[in-house]
Amino acid sequence: MGFIAENLSTYVDGFLVTLRLTAVSGLLALVWGTVIAAFRVSPLRPLRAFGTVWTETLRNTPLTLVFFGMVFVAPQFGIIPPLGFWTAVICLATYTSAFVAEAVRSGINGVNVGQAEAARAIGLTFGQTLGNVILPQAIRSVIPPLINVLIALTKNTSVAAGFAVVELVATGRRLGVGNAAAGAWVLVGVAIFYLVLTIPLGILAARIERRVAFAR
């Protein structure tokens, strides 16, 4: 335990990078995932097809493969991503957007059909029906699964450690290699910082879920 206290500032540096990765890519994934979800329920076939291919492909691809493609393969197309933070953000946001889209879509499909029929009956357009009637209701049942996606994202930021971003796991690896005697304790320190994020978020998700279930 003494080791963790001595190296606290190093841990906190890594923790802040993890936080920033989670926040920035989470925000981007939220926006883009919602757009993809709208594509998947739109009346236009090409948009639906695009949304389906996007989510199904990414959901069946390991995140490591997304990083690998971005870092090693994209340069072959003449796209040279700057190694580090922003490349990691792009990969994480792309990958997570598929899961956000699935969560939002199932929320949309969970709204009572009568709501949409009533909205159309009073003459609202597709955009208005979606924006003013369906989404505000869907959001409520979508929040708990979205928090779970966010928790998964928090853990997934660790993959960036393999691609030159010094976040929590990479920090732990450095400290662990430099202090072999401290061994497992170094990584226990890393674990604590992750749990500080993931366990409260999980409790929050469970609580919101119970309240929404009650309101329904």
């Binding site: 009346p43 197309f77 997570t96 899961f99 779970n148 853990k155 990584l187 999980g202 998700a205 469970a206």
Partner: protein
């Protein structure tokens, strides 16, 4: 096509949709064509970027390249998953039984184990095996996959147990079965059955996560792509990556199809709303 959002369209709406679909398809096709044209401009489709797959340079045979990726690369990926999956299932079952026990000394440690391992990245667990426990990379990868997935699987089984009608347990206890017998003979067989699709989905996650082995230095599929590319030249990355990508998609999509098939064939599986697990597992991420 009818959904929450729109009725079956009338003639006017159908015409508008057709026009929209055609325009959308043209825009999409244009974007794809532009991307292909741009990629071709970088020489990505030239034969000297792809011949590694059928006539590799440096006097190597195509068979050697393919076997290095499919047999050794994908083989190593599957081997790690094949060790971790049964272990995670068995340990997950044990944890689920402990977690639902009415004995506090069994239940409390189970809750602790589940909550901790579910909240940690798989990669960290692999490093724990590697640095903390001094395992080799194969065992470290399998260790990381096992401890994370056993926690998730135990939660899946628990929600399966919770979804059973109360009458099942009550009837079993009324017949004079002990709690243990009730769990083993009555509850678990039903819980496993209704959660089978979720269990298969979790095994797909396990398989996907085995590619994290690349980061800890386990020689799996991605590593073999990288080795081939550094031996034959970076120009071959596109071809090699395409093969690896297709292999992953093929394995995962066929497992997904299996999950859907099982779901269709399992009576009662659809009625159970698979509640997003409370702590950070949720959908198969």
């Amino acid at each position: 096509m009818s959904s929450v959002l729109y009725d079956a369209p009338g003639p006017l709406a159908r015409r508008r949709e057709t026009i929209g679909s055609v325009v959308g398809a043209i825009v999409l096709a244009g974007a794809i064509a532009g991307a292909i044209w741009y990629a071709a401009g970088n020489g990505v489709f030239a034969a000297d970027h792809w011949d590694v797959l059928y006539d590799p340079p440096k006097g190597q045979s195509a068979g050697a390249v393919w076997s290095s990726m499919v047999v050794r690369g994908l083989g190593a990926t599957l081997r790690a998953a094949a060790l971790a999956a049964p272990l995670a299932l068995v340990l997950g079952l044990v944890l689920a039984m402990m977690r639902t026990s009415h004995l506090a000394w069994l239940r409390v440690p189970a809750i602790g184990i589940i909550e901790v391992f579910r909240g940690l990245p798989v990669l960290l667990m692999m490093y724990f095996g590697l640095i903390g426990m001094g395992l080799d990379t194969y065992l470290a990868v399998a260790f990381g996959l096992t401890v994370y997935n056993m926690a998730v699987i135990s939660e899946i089984l628990r929600s399966g147990l919770a979804a059973l009608p109360k009458g099942q347990t009550e009837a079993a206890l009324a017949l004079g079965l002990t709690r243990w017998q009730t769990l083993i003979i009555v509850q678990l067989p039903q819980a496993v059955r209704i959660m089978l699709p979720s269990l298969i989905a979790q095994l797909i996650v396990l398989l996907k996560d085995s590619s994290l082995g690349f980061i800890v230095g386990y020689p799996e599929l991605l590593q073999s792509i990288k080795n081939n590319a550094s031996y034959f030249g970076n120009d071959y990355y596109v071809a090699l990556f395409t093969v690896g990508f297709v292999l992953f998609l093929a394995v995962n999509l066929s497992l997904s199809a299996l999950a859907r098939r099982v779901q269709r064939r399992t009576p009662g599986a659809r009625q159970v709303v698979v509640a997003p697990a409370a702590n950070g597992t949720g959908p198969a991420v």
